[in-house]
Amino acid sequence: MTDDIELTLTATPGPAAVATVTGEIDLHTAPGLRTRALELIDQGHRHLILDLSGVGFCDSAGLSALIGIWHGAQGAGGSLALAAVPDRLMRMLTLTGVDSLLPHYPSIADALSARQGAPDAA
């Protein structure tokens, strides 16, 4: 496990932002991920789409971080969507019923096209 996790803003279509997560999400890195994502929301990117294709490992700490980010986005009147969710995280999302609140898509393209119909899409 590593202490490094990166959250890179890759596209900003209107109030939405696509951010790519790279690294492992565990007990040590999850708080950092949560903080950085909440900063993006604070900066006005209230509809956040996280690209998780670069996430090698994610445990329940990662799930906690995602729920925290979801709360942040909700509080800002925005939303959180996930793209390319790793298998283990997907199983956790399903098992815990969190998948019903966190929209998830196979790819960023799918997530963006799903946003076209959203009320305040760009």
Binding site: L27, S60, S64, T96, G97
Partner: protein
């Protein structure tokens, strides 16, 4: 400067004023002597050189550096006085010299009415000439003297007296240097001592915390499972480290409606924060179940309680809550609700058609739609009802079981657990089921690396029930040895 009587002019031999120590001045002086911590220290080259220099400058056989103690005069350096380290504090010579601010010069001791009675004068040494300059601290205390002695009377010049005073000042400088070095060493010793004490305190704290954690751990567990007529209950609890208070919890208890309540859950996270949630979850579940025996309503109450807590929305748990009650068919009706917890397994004997290697039918029980508890205000929970017939069992567990590593990068998983359950005989009771499952964990290369809680219920088959003396409940709790952290 302490006020001190000073001698009148010494010009008139034999008429020197006899000074006696003032009590207050003497107390301050003794305190200064002790501060420099020089009494009874080993010989020191710097002081020896001053004594030798004085003897040479004055061309006298004896020169000494003395420190005047309460009741003795101690020689820090003594040139020409072999084998003498101290003498009594008799008046006349050094004893009198430390009572005055300036140098004391006695050209002929026999003509001095105080000195003439001093043992150094009357004794074998036969001192006839004595001159001393007090060693004076910056705050005016006279610690002792630098003095020169001769066995014949003589007189010295004002310059020579000034030289003697300078030598005393050199001794004082040396003692200041020595004191400052002493203070540095003492400071270092204090720091070292403080560090040692802090280390010892840390060791004690560590032991106290470990003991506190294990005590807390015990309070978070039911002391024993109750005896439920017609049902066999067994459980197992393992914490990955004695230093970590586990986030797994379970309990079995009677409800006011006459049913039984049961829960098993897992708080996300570890340590003290998780322990507070574990505690909150246990007591909320037990308390809520006193008001309603609808398992979904009980989980909703827990969801509200966790969201009302200070960590609202950031501390979650997954849990099963179930009620069970004997039914007419000799088994138990179990109504089971889940909040995001891994499936329970309903175990029953496999039909012969399942094949020779399949002894048990393991059916995953997970009501659809049960969400994580404590994460969302509008979380939904779901329940299902099952019939636990004689010869059947129900296994509940936390994810430490399914996430136990079977190799470096593979976990037991649902598949591994199902394979294990189906391959073992179904007819065994809850205690055997728990024992076998613990055996499965123990056989893994890394064992259980996370906390694990297991809870099993079984209804004895009619033939077993006849053999058994009654329902049994077994429980055991384990923790990894200290220091084996994961």
């Amino acid at each position: 400067m302490p006020e001190q009587a000073s001698a009148s002019e010494d010009g008139v031999p034999g008429k020197r004023l006899h000074l006696v120590p003032d009590e207050v001045v003497e107390a301050g002086r003794m305190e200064a002597v002790r501060r420099y911590d020089i009494l009874d220290t080993p010989p020191d080259g710097a002081f020896d050189r001053v004594a030798a220099l004085a003897a040479r400058l004055f061309d006298v056989p004896v020169a000494t550096v003395t420190i005047v103690d309460e009741d003795r005069i101690w020689f820090k350096a003594a040139h020409g006085l072999n084998g003498v380290s101290e003498i009594g504090r008799n008046p006349g010579l050094c004893g009198s010299a430390v009572l005055r601010d300036d140098a004391l010069v006695i050209p002929d001791t026999l003509l001095d009415d105080v000195a003439c009675g001093n043992p150094l004068v009357t004794g074998p040494l036969g001192v006839r000439f004595y001159a001393a300059a007090p060693i004076t601290t910056t705050d005016g205390h006279k610690l002792g003297t630098v003095n020169v002695l001769d066995t014949k009377p003589r007189s010295i010049t004002a310059e020579q007296t000034a030289t003697l005073t300078d030598l005393a000042a050199i001794v004082m400088d040396e003692m200041e240097l020595r004191l400052s070095a002493l203070r540095t060493v003492r400071q270092e010793q204090r720091v070292a001592e403080a560090e040692r004490a802090a280390r010892e305190q840390a060791e004690r704290d560590k032991a106290a915390i470990a003991s506190f954690a294990s005590t807390l751990q015990r309070t978070l567990l039911p002391p024993a499972l109750p005896t439920v007529p017609g049902l066999e209950l067994a459980c197992h609890y393992h914490t990955a480290s004695v230093h970590d208070v586990g986030g797994d919890f379970y309990d079995v208890f009677p409800l006011p409606s006459g049913k039984w309540g049961l829960f098993l859950g897992d708080v996300c996270g570890k340590g003290a924060e998780a322990a507070t949630i574990t505690s909150l979850a246990r007591y909320t579940l037990r308390a809520s179940a006193q008001h309603t025996d609808d398992p979904v309503a009980v989980l909703e109450a827990l969801n509200s309680a966790l969201l009302a807590d200070v960590w609202a929305g950031s501390r979650f748990c997954t849990a099963f809550f179930a009620t069970f009650t004997p039914d007419a068919a000799g088994g138990f009706t179990v109504e089971l609700a889940t909040g995001g917890h891994p499936p329970a397994y309903h175990l029953s004997p496999a039909p012969p058609a399942a094949g020779p290697a399949t002894h048990t039918r393991a059916e995953a029980v997970r009501p659809k739609g049960g969400m994580l508890i404590g994460a969302f205000p509008d979380a939904r929970f779901a329940s299902t009802t099952l019939h636990l017939a004689p010869g059947q069992a129900l296994l509940l567990y936390t994810d430490g079981l399914t996430e136990a590593h079977t190799s470096t990068d593979a976990m037991l998983g649902d598949e591994g657990l199902t394979a294990f359950l189906t391959a073992r005989p179904a007819s065994c009771g809850a205690a055997q089921l728990i024992q076998d499952t613990v055996g499965l964990l123990d056989a893994l290369p890394e064992g259980a690396s996370d906390d694990v809680a297991l809870l099993a219920l079984s209804v004895p088959a009619p033939d077993q029930a006849a053999a058994a003396t009654g329902a049994r409940s077994t429980a055991h709790t384990t923790a990894a040895p200290a220091g084996e952290e994961h």
